[in-house]
């Protein structure tokens, strides 16, 4: 494990973010065992694995929800220790969590700008007055750009369908992510058409050059959208597949442990 000496960023085509030798235990359960995982510029990397394989744990370690027991995370060529998801956000890493971290009683505008509200100018701004018009305009632009269709950005999210809510959550992540977007099972609760909308969002994000970490159970979706597939099993990386060459059968075999060969890509 070597430190990258230059602080100026990663060398060309080197990983933007890498987790090296990550261990994490919860009591007697070892959730991650020496996991190496990296995110390269402009790619969609899928992280797959059965329930309890350690996918969400790895994401939580990377985004600062909790620290690893050992191992290190290198981001833009620099070792980082995020104390909270907020720290990760400040460095341009946004996550869409599985449990939909939106405020259902707030509207789309308020959710997208939550914690980053735009204030009015001068004295009113200092008193905490919000620039609602500007936030609304920027929200509409963002949703338009991502082709997310919602009934009315001024209606509470609780009145939206699951897919529309997920669209808002993804739009928020993409709006603020300058470096990496991480999506933890973004399609798990969605119907086919809505899942298709989210996959299109993933492709649009990649077009902007921002890499996406896409966590899923769903093999057809993974092979549809990913450039690279990393398979976790019982807390270890057991395979890295190229979706162009590998089949979903191979991926399933790696996930369930009937394939023993490592790093086949």
């Amino acid at each position: 494990m070597h430190e990258n000496g230059s602080r100026g960023g990663p060398e060309r085509d080197g990983p933007l973010l890498s987790a090296r030798g990550i261990d994490k235990s919860f009591g007697a359960v070892q959730a991650l065992k020496g996991v190496d995982f990296e995110v390269r510029p402009g790619e969609v990397v899928a992280l797959i694995g059965d329930n309890g394989a350690g996918k969400s744990t790895l994401i939580n370690v990377i985004t600062g929800v909790f620290p690893p027991d050992s191992g290190e995370i290198v981001f833009e060529g620099e070792r980082v220790e995020f104390a909270s998801p907020h720290d990760a956000r400040e460095r341009g890493i946004e996550a869409v969590y599985q449990d939909l971290a939106v405020a259902p009683q707030l509207d789309a505008v308020a959710n997208i700008f939550l914690g980053r509200e735009r204030r009015m100018g001068r004295i009113l701004g200092r008193l905490g007055f919000l620039d609602q018009q500007r936030m609304r305009r920027e929200t509409e632009e963002q949703l338009e750009e991502l082709h997310v269709r919602i009934p009315d950005p001024a209606k509470p999210l609780s009145t939206f369908s699951g897919g529309q809510r997920q669209g808002v959550a993804v739009a928020r992540a993409v709006m603020w992510a300058s470096k990496v977007v991480i999506m933890d099972e973004p399609t798990a609760a969605l119907g086919v058409a809505q899942a298709g909308m989210v996959l299109n969002l993933v492709r649009r994000v990649r077009q902007t050059g921002i890499p996406v970490v896409f966590i899923s159970h769903n093999m057809p979706q993974v092979f549809d959208v990913a450039d690279r597939v990393v398979v976790l099993r019982l807390g270890e990386v057991v395979a890295e597949l190229d979706p162009e060459k590998a089949s979903t059968d191979e991926a399933v075999a790696a996930m369930t442990g009937s394939l023993r060969e490592e790093g086949s890509a």
Binding site: A103, P151, S161
Partner: protein, 347 residues
């Protein structure tokens, strides 16, 4: 299964979207209906400027409590201690005024040579007590992680007990009469009693703060999904501390108005104010589950019981009936809120 769920959502979305406005429209209709009914039955005895001023004056203290409690409930919390804070603030304000306005001998003879100092310092002391009590509630909720219900149930007893210990359980006597004549019963511009003016200012500031500022936005966000608020970097504990402190401060302000209106600190008169304030907020559409509520709703929710009480008194209806009527309105409001919630959560 996910598919059929989705389809239901989409077909139901249009109908459901009209529901959130329903409960606030519904309480407006109730209030307007009451005013019209009493006006028809009682004529000018009810429908007169003086009577409306009386109603507003009587509602002014409860309004302040209800506004504070509205902020707390929107964060998905509760404040049961506001009535006790009102009493403790008024006792300490009144005792400070009495102590500073003259010697014990002088005040017993209703002479207050030093009231220019005593009254303002007493007011400041009362407001400070309210602020401190609210801050204590906030600390219990955020630092000791007590549920708001238990935390403020505990301080309800502590604050009221302290007020009774300080006052010996009786109303505080010998409060300078200037408090009442210069503040409590004074009309601004010849028609606007000070308690109503204070209530008006508080309502306007609260509307601006809740609906147009970051403070209000965080209040809703925390009540809607505290975890989501935390993940975007909102300091949830610090915000809750502010909200409980605000509720305490408004209760302290209500305590000052109480002293000014009645020229004493009434220890026994406010035991049910906490529940009255909470029911005003809830009647006004504030959801006990958090994330939903408006100040205008709370204003209407405060005036429904006030108008009922006034109208019943003028009609000579037994006072007990008002409680029955207020209870029915409360149940209706909560029923509608729950239906709205379950419609939303079906998704």
């Amino acid at each position: 299964m996910a598919d059929t769920k989705t389809r239901q959502e989409e077909s139901g979305a249009g109908r459901r979207r009209t529901i959130p406005g329903l409960s606030s429209a519904f309480i407006f209709v109730i209030l307007a209906g009451l005013v019209i009914a009493f006006s028809i039955v009682e004529g000018t005895a009810f429908l007169s400027a003086e009577n409306f001023v009386t109603i507003a004056e009587d509602a002014s203290e409860l309004l302040l409590l209800a506004v504070g409690v509205t902020f707390v409930i929107i964060t998905a919390g509760i404040d049961l201690s506001v009535g006790s804070i009102l009493v403790l603030s008024s006792v300490i304000a009144a005792q400070t005024m009495v102590a500073l306005s003259g010697t014990p001998e002088q005040v017993r003879n209703y002479q207050f040579p030093n009231q220019e100092v005593g009254i303002p310092v007493g007011i400041a002391a009362g407001l400070l007590v309210g602020l401190a009590c609210g801050f204590i509630n906030g600390l219990l909720v955020t630092k000791l992680k007590l549920t708001p219900f238990i935390a403020t149930l505990g301080t309800l007893g502590i604050f009221l007990g302290t007020a009774q210990i300080l006052s010996g359980g009786t109303n505080v006597p010998y409060v300078p009469t200037a408090v009442q004549s210069e503040i409590g019963t004074r009309d601004l511009l010849g028609f606007l009693p000070v308690p109503i003016a204070i209530g008006l200012v508080v309502v306007i500031v609260a509307i601006l703060a809740l609906h147009l500022t970051q403070f209000g936005r965080y209040t809703y966000a925390i009540g809607s999904n505290a975890e989501a608020a935390r993940r975007v970097g909102i300091n949830v504990d610090r915000h809750l501390l502010k909200v409980y402190t605000l509720s305490g401060f408004l209760a302290g302000l209500a305590g000052i108005i109480d002293v000014a209106r009645f020229n004493t600190a009434s220890v026994g008169a406010h035991t049910l104010d906490n529940l009255a304030a909470i029911s005003a907020a809830v009647i006004g559409g504030t959801s006990l589950f958090g994330g939903i509520g408006t100040i205008v709703g709370t204003l209407v929710g405060t005036f429904i019981p006030a108008v009922l009480r006034n109208g019943f008194i003028i009609a000579g209806v037994q006072a007990f009936w008002q409680e029955v009527a207020i209870g029915i309105v409360l149940l209706l409001a909560v029923f509608i809120d729950q239906r709205r919630r379950s419609a939303e959560e079906r998704m």
